[in-house]
């Protein structure tokens, strides 16, 4: 059986459909926003990594340049000393001091073949102090990190001096020691607090004494990051440190992302490490993304509210229209019902209405729910004669006059036209109580009308008796009485149809 679409079904479908549609819009917006944020973060990470790598690489090159520059300066110093007529240790100290100042060489010193070190102020046996002196001969440059007793770390640059002979003594090497703190000063960032850097050994030991953010701080880098990255990744970074391969590490600490890049410093065992905590770029773009997301959410919320308001208005309007339609339908029904129960000529109830009333009264009689009921049967005298002689218009007027007469006297009763010239009046309650008085009055008026040649109506009546089973029983008695009255009135000169058997 095909299900009929009702108004309720239609509204329900509209509401549910609207909600589904709005949910889909919201979810789609949120999903799109999340996708956008993720894509942005990935892009930012790549940019940050590139940025960090560039910074680390630039600083590593700065150190390389520093190293090369010091080697060049050392060579100049050695060449100068080699050409000077130095005859004593005192003169050598003076020369070393002058060159140190002139060429900005930190702790510039010479070493003879007995591993005795000559500086501006001291001469000392340095075999145990300088690692590059562990070999008897020296044939190449030597770069090392010196852990000085007392925490200070220095970069030691040593170069062989095969041609250096002073006062007949052969010298095997020259060297400078640069304090790592000075290198740190050279590399210092301007945006400290957001970007950090540090120099690290192959095993992750901090050489520069600089803090690499709050998490790694001054600790061993590899040991520290081991806590926040997968072991496989950690092993890879250890290998990179050990083999001097650049790389980057990203991790999250206390909800904050940190990215660090490391690049090897050429010629040394060092790793230059640069770290960004909560990258400015990342924060900025994240802020933009979040702002966009907020805007999208607001738009969705606005559309949702607007849709709900619109839906409410539509539903309200629909309800109003429905109520109006329902009222009109009720009115039409009432009109149709009135039209069906009303005599169009006289305006009183018709036979159909009488039948309905009779059925209701019969029901009450059966239920013994009624005790006052009077039925008056009225018949217009001479209607056919008028129709035949004066025309139907005069006949209609006669009918209307008769109806008016009846209605005028039985104002508390229900008047029905049940035939062309026949009316019935149903009287209950007050109409019943005044029935006889009104009958008397109307009959007198009718009798007067005979003399004035106006409308004459024959009236019979009866009331409900305990023996009556239905209204028709009462009607029959009233009808018989009406016929008797018609005869009386004829005798009194009332008009009647010409071929009437009574005539």
């Amino acid at each position: 059986m095909k299900k009929q679409i009702t108004r309720k079904t239609f509204i329900l479908t509209a509401v549910v459909g609207g909600i589904i549609l709005m949910t889909a819009v919201i979810l789609n917006t949120v999903f799109t926003s999340i996708q956008t944020v993720n894509a942005t973060n990935e892009a930012v990470a790549e940019v940050s990594s590139f940025y960090l790598e560039a910074m680390a690489d630039r600083r590593a090159k700065t150190i390389t340049n520093l190293i090369n520059n010091n080697f060049d300066q050392m060579k100049k110093a050695v060449d100068f000393i080699n050409n000077e007529p130095i005859g004593s240790d005192e003169e050598l100290r003076t020369a070393i001091g002058s060159l140190k100042s002139l060429l900005s060489l930190d702790r510039f010193a010479l070493v003879d073949t007995d591993n005795i070190v000559y500086t501006q102020y001291t001469t000392y046996t340095g075999g145990s102090r300088h690692a590059f002196l562990s070999n008897d001969t020296m044939d190449k440059r030597y770069i090392s990190t010196v852990s000085i007793y007392g925490s200070s770390k220095q970069l030691c640059l040593a170069a062989p001096t095969p041609d250096l002979v002073i006062a007949g003594k052969q010298y095997k090497a020259s060297f400078v020691q640069i304090d790592v703190k000075e290198i740190v000063d050279l590399l210092a960032f301007e945006d400290e607090g957001r970007t950090y850097f540090g120099l690290y050994s192959k095993n992750g030991e901090n050489l520069s004494g600089t803090k690499l953010g709050d998490f790694i701080s001054g600790h061993n880098l590899l040991d520290t990051v081991k806590k926040v990255i997968p072991e496989e990744s950690w092993n890879e970074h250890c290998d990179n440190f050990s083999n001097g391969v650049e790389g980057s590490i990203t991790y999250t600490v206390n909800g904050s992302d940190e990215t660090l890049c490391y690049v090897p410093v050429e010629g040394t065992d060092w790793m230059m490490v640069v770290l960004i905590c909560d990258s400015v770029i990342q924060n900025r773009i994240r802020s933009i993304s979040e702002h966009s997301l907020l805007l999208s959410r607001r738009q969705v919320a606005f559309i949702l509210i607007l849709s709900l308001i619109l839906l409410f208005i539509l539903l309200t309007m629909m309800k109003t229209l429905s109520e109006r339609d329902l009222a009109a339908e009720k009115e039409n029904t009432k009109t149709f019902r009135n039209m069906a129960n009303t005599d169009s000529m006289t305006g009183v109830r018709n036979k159909h209405a009488y039948s309905d009333a009779e059925a209701l009264l019969n029901q009450r009689i059966r239920e013994n729910d009624i005790d006052k009921l009077g039925v008056i049967v009225c018949d217009i005298n001479g209607l056919k004669l008028v129709n035949d002689t004066l025309g139907h218009a005069a006949g209609d007027k006669l009918i209307k006059d008769a109806c008016a007469l009846i209605c005028e006297h039985f104002t508390h009763g229900a008047v029905y036209r049940i035939g062309g010239d026949e009316f019935v009046v149903i009287l209950q309650e007050k109409g019943y109580d005044t029935m006889l008085e009104e009958l008397d009055m109307v009959n007198r008026e009718i009798e007067e009308n005979i003399k004035k040649n106006e409308v004459v109506v024959s009236i019979g009546y009866s009331t409900l008796t305990p023996e009556d089973q239905m209204v028709h029983d009462v009607f029959e008695r009233a009808d018989q009485m009406m016929y008797k009255r018609k005869k009386q009135l004829k005798q009194m000169g009332a008009p009647t149809r010409p071929d009437s058997p009574q005539a």
Binding site: R93, Y121, T122, Y124, T125, R129, I148, G150
Partner: protein, 376 residues
């Protein structure tokens, strides 16, 4: 010997190391300034061992075991240039640490407009003969003061007396003073080597429950500091009837030799319970050998070698006696200036200063590595 025992963690001290160092060194410097000697107060414990109750001062003590924060005292040098000669027993990192203290003092004098030049020389192998030769070579050179870390007090003391008699200003420094009665003007360094040896041995004995077989590794034969520590060790062992000394060997300040000697001792005495190391090379060589052989022999030793500190950190070495080499070097140069100016021991400086030694344990190793070598 300052002898503190700490079983609690020392890690938090890293954070306050600077503050502690500053406060401790200030106190130390203040004392030095007031006395004019540059010496440090010595705290000697009651000889109880590493299992004793924690000393609340211990964390500070480890940080101040080596004082890197020195200032010159109020003494005003009479000249603007001094030239010194120092000779010590052997080319060895221990004396490199002393040299750093001297260089610190030299820089601080330079900041005051006083130039100090000096030679700081030693042979590759400890030798009283070599030291004698060096002293004879420099006696006629124009040095304001000659400083000597006595290689062998019996051999060197007469040489020093002779030099003093000839008008040369002579002082002794770092690990070993000259013999009692030597005419040298003053000594800056460790004056409690015997007690250092005794205290380390006492710690070992307690660890071993006062019973077992032990070996003693010594540095250079005749070196007063090494011999004194060995004597202190032997006398302590002698107090306990259930402890025996199975070997006493000299590594001549060579780590490699210490390693070889330890392996030999372990081979000869597989059930060796402990090794007492009287110098800086001993514990390194011993720890290498013990690690290699997998022995559970307990090692106690001297000094601050970086490798030894790592062995301490790893639990291979039980404890180390750390001397304040930096302060020894600083005070040596500062007193040398006063001696060069003709001052005698008294108000300006002590005839014999007494630098500190601090015994540290496994839990102290990390902070000591950080303190001495920035090793994190």
């Amino acid at each position: 010997m300052r002898y503190y025992h700490k079983k609690a963690g020392m890690i938090p001290l890293v954070l306050i190391a600077a503050v502690v160092l500053s406060s401790c060194s200030t106190a130390s410097s203040g004392a030095a300034a007031s006395s004019g000697t540059g010496s440090s107060e010595v705290t000697v414990t009651d000889g109880s061992t590493g299992t004793s109750e924690e000393d609340p001062r211990s964390e500070d003590a480890v940080n101040s075991a080596v004082n890197f924060d020195h200032e010159l005292d109020q003494y005003e040098p009479k000249k603007d240039h001094y030239n010194f000669y120092f000779t010590y027993k052997i080319v060895h990192p221990w004396w490199d640490a002393v040299a750093l203290g001297m260089e610190d003092a030299q820089r601080k004098f330079l900041d005051k407009g006083i130039t100090i030049t000096y030679e700081y020389m030693a042979p590759e192998a400890a030798s009283a003969e070599d030291q004698t030769k060096r002293l004879l070579e420099v006696r006629d050179r124009d040095f304001d003061v000659i400083g000597v870390d006595v290689a062998d007090e019996e051999v060197i003391s007469p040489v020093l007396d002779e030099m003093v008699d000839s008008g040369i200003k002579v002082m002794t420094f770092s690990s070993s003073d000259a013999a009692e009665g030597c005419k040298r003007i003053a000594y800056v360094g460790n004056t409690h080597n015997y007690q250092d040896g005794a205290d380390l041995t006492e710690a070992l004995c307690e660890k071993l429950g006062y019973k077992g077989k032990v070996a003693i590794l010594v540095g250079s034969k005749g070196a007063p500091c090494h011999e004194d520590r060995a004597r202190g060790a032997k006398d302590t062992i002698a107090k306990y009837s259930d402890m025996t000394i199975v070997a006493t060997e000299y590594d001549m300040d060579s780590v490699d030799m210490a390693y070889d000697l330890t392996k030999k001792i372990l081979a000869d005495t597989p059930d060796l319970d402990g090794i007492i190391c009287c110098n800086m090379s001993n514990p390194v060589g011993a720890a290498r050998a013990v690690t290699e052989t997998g022995s559970d022999t307990v090692i106690v030793g001297m000094d601050h070698d970086q490798e030894a500190l790592h062995y301490l950190k790893d639990g291979i070495i039980y404890c180390l006696g750390v001397q304040d080499c930096y302060s020894i070097g600083f005070d040596t140069l500062q007193n040398a200036v006063k001696i060069a100016d003709g001052n005698k021991p008294g108000e300006l400086f002590q005839e014999k200063t007494d630098e500190i030694t601090t015994v540290i344990y496994q839990e102290d190793a990390a902070i000591m590595l950080e303190l001495l070598y920035g090793d994190n």
